[in-house]
Amino acid sequence: MATIGQDIAPPDLVAKVTGRAKFAEDFRAEGMVFAKLLLSPMPHARVRRVDASEALAMPGVLGILRAEEVPQVDAPREACLTDEPLYEGEPVLAIAAVDETTAADAIDRIKVDFEPLPFVLDPLESLRPNGPDARIGGNYFFRPRGSDIAEFRSHKWTDADFAAAGEGQMPMGEPRTEWSVGDLDAGFDQADLVLDETIVHQTLSHHPMEPRSCMAYWQNGKLYIHPSTQSTARTAVGIARSMDLDPDDVVLIGPYCGGGFGSKISGSPTMLIPAVMSRKIGRPVMMRINRYEETYIGRSRPGFQARVKIGFRNDGRVTALDLYIVEDGGAYGSGDFNTAGTVASLSYQPLAMRLRGVSLYTNTPPRSAQRGPGGAQIVGMLEPIIDKAARQLGIDRVAIRELNAPDNNGWLGPQQGRLTSAYVREALAMGKEIFGWEEKSRLSGQRNGTKAIGVGVGLSPFVGGSTGYDGLVVIRPDGKLYVHQGIGNLGTHSMADTARAAADVLGLPWDRVEVVWGDTSKHLPWSSNQSGSQTIHAHTRANHAAGIDARRKLQQIAALDWGGSPGDYVVGGGRVYHRSNRNQGMTFGRAARRAIQLRGKFSGYEMDDDLNAMTVASVQALAGQGLIGAAKDNYGREGSTWTFVVGFALVELDVETGQVDIKEYTAVADCGTVIHPRSLAAQIHGGGVQGFGIARSQRWVYDPQWGVAFAKRFYTARPPGILDVPLEMKWGAVGIPDPQTPVGAKGIGEPPVGAGSAAITSAIADALGGQCLCRTPLTLDVILAALEGREQPYGPLETHV
């Protein structure tokens, strides 16, 4: 029976429910000591002098690590320690001691003389003619392609640019990036309705449950490291590169990752600290990261200040979309806004579109991808505006999305790239059905006591997969299939679920499949990063290819032993046998032993030459242990693979307090073939919950005078709790396979977030009678001010509140 489409508990679940699952901070080593960080108290400073003599003289203190001792990087990249901290909380140095309290006491006693430097928190401030820059030299990094220039420069707008913006509107000076498709003017000329809105989307921390702690030690010249990372193979390679080590000399053991959401894709710069410290002091070093530190070094989604002008025809068709985004790139610069433009183009398929953007450095913690990077922001921001147009044009809000949504011929981005598949209308139809849109949308605006009902809908596309990675499976003499996985394990279950592609190709029941993951000493194949909704797509393909390779070899062995051509043999039920005579064949265990005897390609002594070096090394290490299937995903693909999720929400908004209760939520995905229904539901709902957090509560707050963060704990940052989400949530999946991938599955990690966020911003606007407040998070103060007709608590462009 095929495993794909079944609910099968992942193989790590028992370890997870018994406490045996070891996360980074759970590893121990003989002689292990502790590192603690000294963080910059200032948003931008230079270290003039460090006096650690008192700390180093303390009994139990073993050493100090300064910025000059860690692997150096070129600007504008981030090293794990710095003498020019660029945000409050950036690690400056580390201390190691025999216990944590001593290490903390030692940090306490270090005197650092910091020279404060100018800082900026809000990119719009940096764009002012005399505004401060986040770096010495500028607010963006200039490195034109094909040139030797690589330096910071200042990008400024003019006073006239600022003056030109209307009251409360975002000024639009010279952009740094611009692309357009079609004739924008003509698009607006055709429009019967044009909306022009200024929007603020908050920056928010990822806040995975597990802080990025790391333990490391050296043995026989090899680095053994236990980081908290989303990816396994890629992180190990990254560490080797950063530490200037041979990849074979890095053993990464991290079978569990307590969440990352894009913040631990290939680990973190700080994971090098225990590695370097351990080399320096000759002891295993544990660096436990606490929640404050996690907020500082743990990455964040870039906030946007944006202005959008959208033209609509009377029938609701989007004729023109003009989007200008100012992005807060944080201390080390990172950009989502281009993706945001691409996602907008895909969602609405406008007849003409322009994206302009400026992404600037600020003196705030580093940004990185966060689940649906760019996409989650833009759909949460634009969907209530689409609603506004629908309302003004008298069109059903789902219908306006159906009208503009892409199908298999859809396009996206400046190159007007093509899709492998898009079944958005099917998803909208299914969502309407499950949610009961027809009936619920009639409740819109009705009162239940002091509570106003609002219903919302959001469409969220995101990239659903990459290609070209390697699969590696071993059939051992025990007759089991061992699927080696270089991807990580952060709870999406894809390290298990993608293995099903190989299992099904070989017709093997799941109880005879072992997944090997989380430890590079176990010989893993070259893999995608565990990020960007890639893995279900990339690794069902890679494992499919490896499974096919193993199947071919089984058939060849059978033909060798029993005669005939390999094509005469079929594989299933743990055996390979002649199509016309079931008894003419052998078990997998027998085949594995034959493969070991036959050597050559059968048991890994020879292999395809298109495999990645990492896979090659793994196959070589496994050679002779069984029948080895190893192959690169060469299935090819035209266009890019995108997944779509539509979210539907019903909220109750208390008009006397501004509080919003999410009563119902339904989301439906177009993510191709469903591999693991329950895990898919978890992704759809979990992403939705993160979206609720964006729309309703999660924040990032800075004191403007000091440039110091405040929302660096859970209760101040406010991720949603179990009482902030509906008691029961529904879901669905269109289930139409993507035609350009063998299993037909598309990734699902990212798009649920935007669907959750947009459904809520849309529903809140609906409960307010169609008023789009054009800001996230929509906290009760913002809502209450609108309800009571009082001045908004924050300026229309005010950020970090």
Partner: protein, 212 residues
């Protein structure tokens, strides 16, 4: 299903590694052989204590066993469990009584072990996630319910949630979904897997009722 231990236990990596990594101290082993919170070389060891203040060497009842352990006055239970008793089930997600990943039972009541002074629970029954399984390796009904519902994603929060579920189904074996949500509201899940967690918890209550 794969053999989890085979894959995860660092002690099985090979001879050289086995000799190097002691891994977690097995439950029941003498405590403090690897005390990472403080060592004799630490200045903390030399600190004089005032007369009348607590004795450092105490006995704790953890998962039904008496454990002798050297505990600093300012030490939290999470630190004692994780770094002195080798019980790494309770996780430190925030260390500030906000996320619930460190939840343990004290006399059957769920509390945040990151925010308990170890000295204040002398003489009380401490139960961690490691103590739920029966001696023969049978999962606790709550654990079984979670497995059957495929509960949790990254599962860093799972030990805490499960301990809260255990406390809840003991106290109220017939909760509504809403009551269950309230009972679990001291635990945070950043994967947002609340729907599945509630499904698991309701199934756990069902299993607990069935067992009773």
């Amino acid at each position: 299903m794969a053999d989890v231990e085979l894959i995860t236990d660092a002690a099985q990596q090979g001879v050289s590694r086995r000799s190097f990594i002691k891994g977690v101290i097995a439950a029941g082993a003498t405590a403090s052989t690897a005390s990472y919170l403080f060592r004799n070389s630490s200045p903390l060891a030399a600190l004089p204590t005032a007369q009348g203040s607590v004795e450092r060497l105490i006995t704790l009842t953890v998962n039904g066993q008496q454990r002798r352990v050297d505990v600093l006055a300012q030490e939290t239970l999470a630190m004692t469990l994780r770094y002195k008793l080798g019980l790494t089930g309770p996780k430190l997600g925030c260390d500030r009584a906000e996320c619930g990943a460190c939840t343990v039972l004290i006399d059957g009541v769920n509390r945040y072990s990151c925010s308990i002074l170890t000295h204040t629970v002398r003489g009380q029954e401490i139960t961690t996630i490691e103590g739920l399984e029966s001696a023969n390796g049978r999962l606790h009904p709550v654990q079984q319910a979670v497995v059957d519902e495929g509960g949790f994603q990254c599962a860093f929060c799972a030990p805490g949630f499960i301990m809260s579920m255990v406390a809840t189904v003991e106290a109220n074996p017939n909760p509504t979904r809403e009551e269950m949500a309230h009972a679990l509201s001291g635990n945070l899940c950043r994967c947002g897997d609340y729907n599945k967690i509630l499904d698991s918890a309701m199934r756990a209550a069902e299993y607990a009722r069935r067992r009773a």
